[in-house]
Every structure is written in structure tokens, then in C-alpha cells.
């Protein structure tokens, strides 16, 4: 269970995010005003903060973010904004945001990103080898094997699989894959990511009884032995 602070002036959006988080069993507190948001963000302990950029009362999201970071607080912050230009994203991330999601957004995308953030915030020492069921990925010598058989992957396919493995049992969206594996921040017109995944799936899942890479309809992908995302 996470304690989440949602700083968002739009009532509908805030309600939508808060209810979604509560449905997933988390605690969500909504602040509709920049001043109050800043106070609560600084004075209370949160597991994560969802922050809108344009807020009333002369305190905007980035000001809250930089104040928080200047005070040395490392709470993961996801910036949620209608400002979608790459410049704005860079500004949001430079101010100390851990991730940036533009409106309009799907709740599943938000959830997938929050889970990735939480996972990263909790991650312990550097992991060298990842394993899900009988699939093992060695991040050091970049080798992959399933049930004892080595699988040859191209560098990009390896990065894709490594990302899915690092976020095992979590939903990852296409945009997240494009951003982390290819480091691109644009929307390719065709579903190139889907095709990349299906090629990876062929190499990883074909010939094995248990499929590991699952498609989550309308959202993205999931690497798990059960086809279900683990509860955070």
C-alpha cells in the first residue's frame, strides 16, 4: 500500500486518479491548490507524489518540485501535465521529477509508470541476474537462457527483454518501452513496438509450454509466469 499525494487543481482529473489508486488499495490524498500542496508535500511523509504543473495560487508544480528537492526529499514524483512539448518534459525532469506524463492519459499508463517508479525507489543493490520462471537474463555478460538453452538476441532485443525483466510482473506501456529502450520521445505512427515485442516473444516463448510475455490489451505488456500483474 502506498501513501500518495495528488496535487491537481482539476477536480475531475484528481478524482479519477485518486479513485483509481484507491481501487488498487492505496491511500490517496488530493490537494487542489499549489500552496496547500507544497505544505503537505513538504511536511508529511509520502510514498509518491502525482503533481500537476499548472496550479492556482501562484505556486506551480515545478516550484513545489524544486522546493521538495532542495529540502533533500527524495519522494518519487510523477509530473502530470498538459504541457507536452519535449522542452517542457525536460524542464519537468530537470526540476527533479522522476517521470513525466502528459494529459490526456490512460489510467493504466499512469499506474504502470507509478509502479515502475516505486520499484525503482525500492530497488536494492545492483542486480546482476534476473529470473522469471525458467528464463534467466544475465545483465553482466548479456546472456539469456531459458530452461538451460541459450537464446541469441540482438542488442536492442536484449535491452527490451532486460527492461521487461527488471519490471517483471508489472505492466509496461509502449511509450515506456520507447522511452527507456530506444530513448525516443516521439510517437511513431505505426505500432512498431508491438512488432518488436512479437519478434522478441518468438525467440523467448516459442517452443515453451509457459508463455512469459503477455499483451495487456489497450495498455502494453507484462512479463510474468502467470499472465497477471503482481499487486504492488
Amino acid at each position: 500500500m502506498w501513501r500518495c499525494l495528488i496535487v491537481e487543481d482539476d477536480a475531475e482529473n484528481a478524482r479519477y486518479v485518486a479513485e483509481g489508486l484507491r481501487e488498487h488499495g492505496h491511500v490517496a490524498v488530493v490537494c487542489r491548490d499549489g500552496m496547500e500542496g507544497l505544505q503537505r508535500a513538504v511536511s508529511e511523509a509520502w510514498d509518491l507524489i502525482v503533481l500537476d504543473r499548472m496550479l492556482p495560487n501562484e505556486v506551480d508544480g515545478l516550484a513545489i518540485l524544486s522546493t521538495l528537492r532542495n529540502l533533500g526529499k527524495k519522494t518519487p514524483v510523477l509530473v502530470l501535465s498538459a504541457l507536452s512539448a519535449l522542452d517542457e518534459r525536460v524542464r519537468g525532469l530537470n526540476a527533479g521529477g522522476d517521470d513525466y506524463l502528459t494529459k490526456p492519459f490512460a489510467f493504466s499508463e499512469l499506474m504502470a509508470r507509478l509502479e515502475a517508479l516505486m520499484r525503482r525507489a525500492r530497488s536494492g543493490p545492483e542486480v546482476r541476474e534476473l529470473q522469471v520462471a525458467d528464463l534467466r537474463v544475465n545483465l553482466v555478460n548479456r546472456s539469456v537462457e531459458r530452461a538451460g538453452t541459450a537464446i541469441a538476441l540482438q542488442p536492442r532485443e536484449f535491452r527490451l527483454l532486460a527492461y521487461l525483466m527488471t519490471h517483471a510482473r508489472q505492466v509496461v506501456t509502449r511509450t515506456m518501452l520507447l522511452e527507456s529502450v530506444w530513448d525516443y520521445h516521439f510517437d511513431p505512427q505505426t505500432n512498431v513496438i508491438d512488432v518488436q515485442i512479437s519478434r522478441l516473444r518468438q525467440k523467448v516463448d516459442t517452443g515453451f509450454a509457459l508463455p512469459l510475455i503477455h499483451t495487456v490489451r489497450g495498455v502494453g505488456y507484462l512479463l510474468s509466469e502467470t499472465g497477471e500483474a503482481a499487486a504492488a
Partner: protein
């Protein structure tokens, strides 16, 4: 009244006037220095000349006295006075020890004292007038006193005349400076007025106005050219904005009204749950599509406004091409198409990696979509090369190409090729518009060519040295 149309009040507000006046005052100062030199050269030089003449005349007379005595001297004085040379200004006096005049044209006076060779200025009365004399008085051996000198009246008049001439010249020069500054100001103001008039008309909404006289080749023409170029760009941008708002109105309203209709229908009482569900799903899909269109329009607008340029860095185009080809190779494979890459690591340009990758992705995407015809799978070649001062990314397909008549309209927002109605291809007609905007942002251009069969799209960017 706006600042652009307000007249300049008073000559002091005019830069041209102040520059001309300052320059004029400087000239005046130099002139004053020069005239002073002329004045002192004339006046002082003349005085030296007079003193020399006095010395010479007195020496000659003393010599005459030594040779011939007092009579010869008296005679010589009479000759000097009668010879008609300088007879107005030269003065002589030979006075005996009792103070009686022996010869000469000066009245005898007790105040004449021998002062040796020194010439001095003396005031005396001559012909009823107070005059200033320049004289030398010498005591002769027989006790007489010889006074030789010059009446300075003429000299004074020359000095006065020179002074008056200099003053008059200075006044005329000052007048000329003021008139010159005024004319200079008028000239500059006329040139500036053209610019100001154009600015005022543009402010009033006549965006097509341009500053006249931009071809005269002087500084103002240069400035006018720069401003005209800026105005061209602004007009282009404004036209773009108008076009976008029109097309947005058309292209976004249609799907929006479709969604609205569907949802209103589903709202009617008695609508089966399944139908409502379907309407909601359609609405979600349509709105997602609209978001994509909107994002693309924003991206194009962003690229066109040039705001991203500050983040530009040197980029290796082969890296970008490799990344994009890697992103699309799985798609090509799945389609049974071929996607090949030939790179040249000298192709370097300044730019934004994301934007250029997005532009190339667009071209590759199009090539894979439209390439291939008559049952042939698409074959797409991506080539990166350095060609002298330009770096090029070339995307070539083997599709039907684009008819030459359409080339000019390629890149217009929401413009879509007529295409095969039996084989509709998804899209919004924004892809190439965004490619064009991105390439223009990078100072490059997009060239279309027929590969017979197929289309060659070439992105040319200014290459970085190295």
C-alpha cells in the same frame, strides 16, 4: 496615438540632428583653433615685421649720423619722410638736448628717453589724436635724441579687420552647421519614415506591407532588407497559423461531432447496454485519435516556431538512422518487406536527436506503408551520406511514387494523396508536414524525386565540418 506613428518632437529628440550637431560643433572647435593660428600668425608676424623695419631704419639713420653728422641725419629724415614709402605710418624725431625738435614729424616731448636698442610701445598725441606708436629712442653722441618708430594705426585696423573676418566666418560656420544638421536630420528622417510607415501599417494589420527602397545598398537598405525578411517569415507563420486553425476546425470538428452523435444516441432511454458500451468504446478510440492529431499539430507548431533550436547539438546522422532502422526492422520483417541501411559516418549535423529521429521514422514509416506495388513487397533503402557541405538522409522505396503535380503540395498539413480508394491507408496527412517543419527548423530542405519506380525522399541538412 501609438509610439510608431507619433512624430518626433523637437530637433533634440532626433538622433540624426544630434549627431550632425555634435559633428558640426567639433568642426567648429577645430575651425576656432585654425583661425586662432591664422590670427596670431598674421598679427604677431606683422608686429615682428614692423619691429624689424624700425630697427633697420634706426640703424641706418645712426650710421648716417656717424658718417655725416647732424645735418646729414636731418636731411636723411626729410628724405625718408618725403619718399612716399610708408609716409603715413613712419615717424621720426630728432630732438636736441634742450627738448627742441630738430627734424621729423613727431612733436618734441620731454618723455623720450634713450632706452638703447629696445623697441617699446608708447602712447602719444599726433595730429590731435591719441595714437599708439612702436618706437626706439637712441641718444646720439652730440646729446641729441633720435626717435624712430611706426604709427600702429594701420596695423590696428588690419588686426581689427582680421578679427572681424574671423568672427564672421565663425558665425557663418555655426549657421552652416545648424542648417547642415537640420538637412541631415531631414534626410535620415525621410529614410526612417519609410520604415516607420511600414511598421505602422503592419501594426494596423496589413501584413503584406514591405519597406520600400531595400535595394539601394546603404545601411538603411540593409536594415530594411533584414526587416523585410523578418516580415516574410512572420507572414509565413501567420499564414501557417491561419491554415492550421482552419484545418483544425475542419479535421477535428468532424470526428468530435461523430463522437457526440454516437454518445447522444446511446444516451437515449431504452438503448441496450451493449450498444452503450460500444458507443463508449468508439468515443474512446476517436478521442485517442484526436489526441494523436493534436500532439502532431503541436509538434509541427513547435518545430516551426523554432523554439527548440537552443537545445541543438552536433549529431551523427548514421547513429540516428541506425536507431530508426532498428526500430522499424521488426515491422519490415513482419510485413515481408526489406529495410536496408547504408551509412557514412562523416554525415554530421547540428540538431535535435528526437526530432530528426521522428522525421526519419516518419519517412521510413511512409516508405514501408506506400512502398511496394503490384504484389511486390516493399523494398526500402535508407542511406546516410555526406555530400560536400550537406549531410543527407535518403529514403528510397519501390512504390508507385508521387505524381509530379502533387510534389508542391506535399507537406501541407492535412493534405493527403488521393491514393487508391480500395486500399485506404491510415493517417491524418500530418506526417510529411511534420517532417518538413523539422527539417526547416534544422535549416535544411526536403527533396522529392522519382526513382522510377518508387519515391526518393532526401533530407538535406547543413553538415558540420569534420
Amino acid at each position: 496615438m501609438s509610439a510608431a506613428t507619433a512624430p518626433l518632437r523637437g530637433p533634440w529628440r532626433s538622433v540624426a540632428f544630434r549627431i550632425a550637431l555634435n559633428y558640426g560643433l567639433l568642426t567648429l572647435f577645430f575651425m576656432a583653433v585654425l583661425l586662432s593660428i591664422v590670427y596670431f600668425q598674421t598679427v604677431v608676424g606683422q608686429r615682428h615685421h614692423i619691429d624689424r623695419q624700425i630697427t633697420l631704419a634706426s640703424q641706418r639713420l645712426v650710421a648716417r649720423f656717424v658718417q655725416g653728422g647732424a645735418e646729414a641725419l636731418t636731411e636723411q629724415i626729410a628724405i625718408n619722410l618725403a619718399d612716399g614709402v610708408d609716409s603715413d605710418s613712419e615717424v621720426y624725431l630728432l630732438q636736441d638736448s634742450s627738448g627742441q625738435r630738430v627734424a621729423g614729424n613727431l612733436p618734441a616731448a620731454a618723455h623720450w628717453r634713450s632706452v638703447g636698442d629696445a623697441i617699446s610701445s608708447q602712447d602719444t598725441t599726433r595730429g590731435g589724436q591719441r595714437v599708439r606708436l612702436r618706437v626706439v629712442a637712441r641718444a646720439l653722441d652730440d646729446g641729441k635724441l633720435l626717435v624712430v618708430g611706426r604709427d600702429l594705426r594701420d596695423q590696428r585696423q588690419v588686426e581689427l579687420a582680421v578679427g572681424r573676418a574671423i568672427l564672421a566666418a565663425a558665425l557663418v560656420a555655426l549657421l552652416l552647421v545648424i542648417v547642415g544638421a537640420y538637412l541631415f536630420r531631414l534626410d535620415i528622417e525621410t529614410r526612417v519614415a519609410g520604415i516607420r510607415r511600414t511598421a505602422a501599417r503592419i501594426e494596423a494589420g496589413e501584413l503584406h506591407q514591405r519597406i520600400p527602397g531595400a535595394d539601394q545598398g546603404d545601411e538603411f537598405a540593409g536594415l530594411s532588407q533584414d526587416i523585410n525578411r523578418m516580415l516574410d517569415r512572420i507572414e509565413d507563420l501567420m499564414a501557417g497559423v491561419r491554415h492550421v486553425s482552419n484545418t483544425i476546425a475542419h479535421n477535428l470538428r468532424t470526428p468530435l461531432s461523430r463522437v457526440l452523435l454516437r454518445l447522444r444516441q446511446a444516451q437515449r432511454p431504452g438503448t441496450p447496454l451493449e450498444e452503450m458500451h460500444e458507443a463508449a468504446q468508439t468515443a474512446v478510440r476517436e478521442i485517442e485519435d484526436l489526441t494523436v492529431v493534436f500532439d502532431k499539430l503541436m509538434q509541427i507548431a513547435e518545430a516551426e516556431s523554432g523554439a527548440r533550436r537552443h537545445g541543438f547539438a552536433p549529431l551523427a546522422l548514421d547513429d540516428i538512422a541506425t536507431g530508426v532502422v532498428e526500430l522499424y526492422d521488426a515491422l519490415a520483417e513482419a510485413q515481408g518487406a526489406t529495410l536496408t541501411l547504408a551509412t557514412d559516418d562523416a554525415a554530421v549535423a547540428r540538431g535535435d536527436r528526437d526530432l530528426l529521429a521522428s522525421a526519419l521514422a516518419n519517412l521510413v514509416d511512409n516508405a514501408l506503408k506506400y512502398g511496394g506495388s503490384a504484389g511486390l513487397p516493399a523494398a526500402v533503402q535508407v542511406r546516410v551520406e555526406r555530400w560536400g557541405e550537406v549531410s543527407r538522409i535518403i529514403v528510397r522505396d519501390n512504390g508507385p511514387g508521387i505524381p509530379a503535380a502533387e510534389h508542391a503540395r506535399i507537406g501541407t498539413r492535412f493534405h493527403r494523396l488521393p491514393g487508391d480508394p480500395a486500399r485506404p491507408v491510415p493517417g491524418y496527412g500530418l506526417g510529411l508536414a511534420s517532417v518538413m517543419a523539422i527539417v526547416h527548423l534544422h535549416g535544411g530542405r526536403v527533396l522529392l524525386a522519382d526513382a522510377a519506380p518508387g519515391l526518393v525522399m532526401t533530407v538535406e541538412l547543413p553538415a558540420l565540418p569534420g
